[in-house]
């Protein structure tokens, strides 16, 4: 632990810290462009210059200089001031003066730092350099004349995303950042370079010229596009959500989000259900809330009513539905729309126990039926880190492009019974072995044999639980905590032949199982569920209601409401509350606060932010066998939910990046 002095303040810094980090620890701001905590050190912008003694009598780049015992660091001397002004002046030589038409304006590091550390006026009157635009795909807009060559984007794609597609060509003032042959960036995290770019060289193409940052209302929220529960900030203006940015949470998404998280919000203003609809003679007609409620009441369902929870739901909505059904005397609630029926009595067995941060430390990982890159891109980032540290990764399932070294063992679960010797040995000898079961694995029945393997390999040991299930639905863990699981899954619900089925944003259900039921769809998008429904009650999307979400690690997180739902749409719980009145039962809450209180009274873990405790893993059954063929559930990364399907940007990504349609000529 070296001791250094920063501007006269003596502090102790951790071993291996850089001078820049030491200055930050001392509370000093060091301007920077190329340095980024999560990327390797490049040291090429020179903005972080400080004066360090002992050392050469010239300013030094603090980001690339290790802090050493007895250093005297100055960030406030005349030398540092002049050095910063000099670097700033050089950077601005070739930077265009186009802030008024630049989308980065108002949140640009170059702008801010030139005001804080620059000279104030330019002395340069030669010609400026200009660089042609580069096509980087439907998400990233480029204005490369603005690039200051910090190479953050290059380092991100190589180090974090694991897809080397961005590079710096040529050299000196001719240096240009581009994707290989200007092909579209083709991975699920590509748009993070927009946040990383300190200037306006890489900006968001769909969000181009939409708003200035100071016009936006910022709401803290949780993403629902997968079960990772990325922490996001929803930026809205008036009633419209304009963009989504990541929030830093080292336990969950670090500071990245997937492209779907970022761009599905465009779908929030399209294909919306904003009126009540009732199907009469096979055709949907507009109706009033009263008509809809009385039609449901007329069905006289009594206790013959079921509720199916969709993938994007918050816990409050599910709890409200459960309470309503309970008041009617029914327990027909289910969330695994596709028909999965794994046992859900012990949640530890269906949880991502090692946690996302923990899986980075695993040294042998067996993935069973998960296309991690599509099911949870941010978990793939963690796995890549583990692999970089030397973890061995084995995958049972059809081949997909991993971003790290991995061995594919075969497509069927038979493999679990006859693992090659080196795999079993690697798992047995690992100090932190982990299994990850994905959606494909669950469907094929991998849970029981995996639990047996977990016992055999002692996946649970002091300070480590390596048994993981990777869900894909944001609502899944919350739903299971609330009991939205029948023993036989959807089949049990269908067998009960309920008179009324409440489909809560449930779009992936096979509604042909409910031919004779009155199907009531409560949700926000005119998607598969609404097409099958007899009555449509317009509800709220995740940005339009406050709610509790539990991610696949069992992490309870709260989201705030950013905007109001359009038209007649209401927050889902209020619809269920009103329905209770129409059906003549009492649910015992009249406000969101009371609802939440009732929910946490029933499931206390839902009231505490952080990891829920699910107890110990169930005993594995050594005789458990499964022979299913693994099929990955996600066929198209960009089209996995109703909101994303309605987003023109996601549609274009799907067409261009996955189905190879050519849009390149549409580029500027």
């Amino acid at each position: 632990m070296p001791k250094v002095t920063v501007d006269g303040i003596e502090i102790e810094v951790p071993n291996g810290a850089t001078v820049l980090q030491a200055c930050e620890l001392a509370g000093k701001e060091i301007p920077r462009f190329c340095y980024h905590e999560r990327l390797s050190i490049a040291g090429n912008c020179r903005m972080c210059l400080v004066e360090v003694k002992p050392g050469p009598p010239k300013p030094q780049a603090s980001c690339a200089l290790p802090a050493a015992e007895g250093q005297e660091i100055r960030t406030d001397s005349q030398m540092v001031k002049t050095a910063r002004e000099g670097v700033m002046e050089f950077l601005l030589i070739n930077h265009p003066l186009d802030c008024p038409i630049c989308d980065q304006g108002g949140e640009c590091d170059l702008q801010d730092q030139s005001i804080a550390y620059g000279r104030g006026a330019s002395r340069y009157d030669e010609n400026k350099r200009a660089v042609t635009e580069k096509y980087m795909g439907p998400l990233i807009k480029t204005i490369m004349t603005r690039c200051i060559h910090c190479t953050r984007c290059v380092r991100f794609s190589e180090e974090i995303a694991g897809v080397d597609e961005i590079g710096a060509l040529y050299r000196g003032e001719d240096m240009q950042i581009t994707t290989y042959l200007e092909q579209a960036a083709k991975h699920e995290l590509s748009a993070n370079v927009i946040d990383l770019c300190p200037v306006g060289a890489l900006t968001s193409r769909p969000y181009a010229y939409e708003a200035r940052p100071w016009e936006l209302t910022k709401t803290l929220s949780i993403d629902v596009s997968d079960a990772v529960g990325s922490n996001i900030r929803v930026d809205s203006r008036g009633r419209e959500v304009l963009r989504v940015l990541p929030r830093t949470n080292d336990d969950v998404n670090e500071e990245w989000i997937s492209d779907k998280t970022r761009y599905q919000v465009e779908g929030l203003t399209r294909r919306r259900l904003d009126k009540v609809w009732i199907r009469r003679k096979g055709k949907l007609e507009q109706a009033s809330w009263d008509e809809a409620f009385s039609t449901i009441a007329k069905a006289k369902a009594g206790s013959s009513i079921a509720a199916i929870a969709g993938d994007l739901l918050d816990c409050e909505t599910m709890f409200a539905a459960k309470t309503l059904l309970g008041a009617l005397g029914s327990t027909l609630i289910e969330s695994r729309q596709g028909g999965m029926a794994y046992p859900a009595d012990n949640l530890a067995a269906v949880n991502f126990n090692s946690t996302f941060a923990g899986i980075e430390e695993a040294d042998a990982v067996l993935i069973v039926g998960s296309q991690v890159r599509w099911e949870a891109p941010l978990v793939n980032v963690r796995l890549r880190k583990a692999a970089k540290r030397g973890a061995k990764v084995f995958i049972v399932g059809p081949h997909w492009e991993t971003t790290y070294a991995a061995e594919f063992l075969g497509d069927s679960l038979d493999q679990l019974q006859q693992l090659p010797a080196h795999v079993a040995e690697a798992m047995q000898q690992a100090s932190k072995p982990a299994i990850i079961i994905g959606g494909g694995g669950l469907v094929a029945g991998a849970l029981a044999p995996a639990l047996a393997l977990a016992e055999q390999w002692k996946l649970v040991r002091e300070g480590w639980n390596g048994f993981n299930v990777l869900h894909m639905a944001a609502a899944r863990m919350g739903a299971l905590m609330l009991g939205f699981a029948q023993k036989g899954g959807m089949a049990d619900i269908a067998a009960a032949n309920p008179k009324v089925v409440l489909a809560l944003g449930a779009d992936e259900v096979d509604f042909s199982q409910f031919q004779s039921s009155l199907k009531v769809y409560i949700g926000h998008h005119g998607d598969k569920g609404a097409h099958a429904a007899d009555i449509i009650l317009p509800g709220s999307a995740y940005t339009e209601k406050a709610g509790t979400y539990v991610n696949t690690e069992g992490r309870v997180q709260f989201a705030d409401k950013a905007v109001f739902a359009p038209g007649d749409a209401r927050e889902d719980w209020t619809i269920l509350r009103a329905l209770a009145d129409a059906l003549g039962v009492s649910v015992g809450f009249d406000s969101f606060g009371e609802l939440r209180a009732a929910m946490t009274a029933e499931v206390p873990a839902l009231g505490v932010e952080g990891l829920a405790d699910y107890g110990a893993l169930p005993k594995g059954d050594a005789k458990a066998k499964a022979t299913g063929q693994i099929v990955y559930p996600i066929k198209d990364f960009y089209m996995t939910n109703a909101i994303a399907r309605s987003s023109p940007t996601m549609q274009r990504c799907s067409a261009e990046l996955l189905h190879g349609e050519d849009f390149a000529e549409a580029a500027e």
Binding site: D164, E165, G167, L169, Y170, D174, Y180
Partner: protein
Amino acid sequence: MAERHIEADSPELRARWGNFAWTAENAAKAKEVVSRYPEGRQRSAVMPLLDLAQRQVGAETQTQGWLPIPVIEFIARELDMPVVRVLEVATFYTMYNLVPVGRYHVQVCGTTPCMLRGSDDILAACKKRGMKKGHTTEDGLWTLTEVECMGNCSSAPMVQINDGNYEDLTVERFDAVLDALARGETPQEGTQDPARHTVEPVGALSTLTEMAKSNHDYRSEW
């Protein structure tokens, strides 16, 4: 510095170079080059392999050689590295040609010492023969590039043509070199001044005269 760009990727380019592979001789050379690097560091061979590929392209096209995109991709496959990383290297170093060049790549140094010693005349002589910076003459013989200091300042002005340096040029000496090349001969490389064999002083020693006989410490005289 001359503006560089990559020859656009096109079906014709793919058709011509898509099947690029080492000749038997170069395959052996490439193997030897790669084996110079420690295990796990094979990618370090990217520069010599790009050079070898450029020479093979040169041999096939009777030019100095260049690096078409499919050949760059071939090197990336050979070394199992992302192609954009290979492209970065190829575009960084000016001795890799990114567009087709002629039989002889005439690189005229135009930096100050050469300029003071008459590089403008050399460039004018090139122009007279129909060469244009960044272009190849119609007969495919000459490609002209103006470059920065090549480290031959003490025998300035100089020109580099393919692998040879021709120094102490005057317009006449330069013309003689080009004529010889055009006839298919191999002119003597190095200084073209008959009175010099290398970069020894021209005429009598004019600086550091004390040093001529033995080592001398000048510091006290500053």
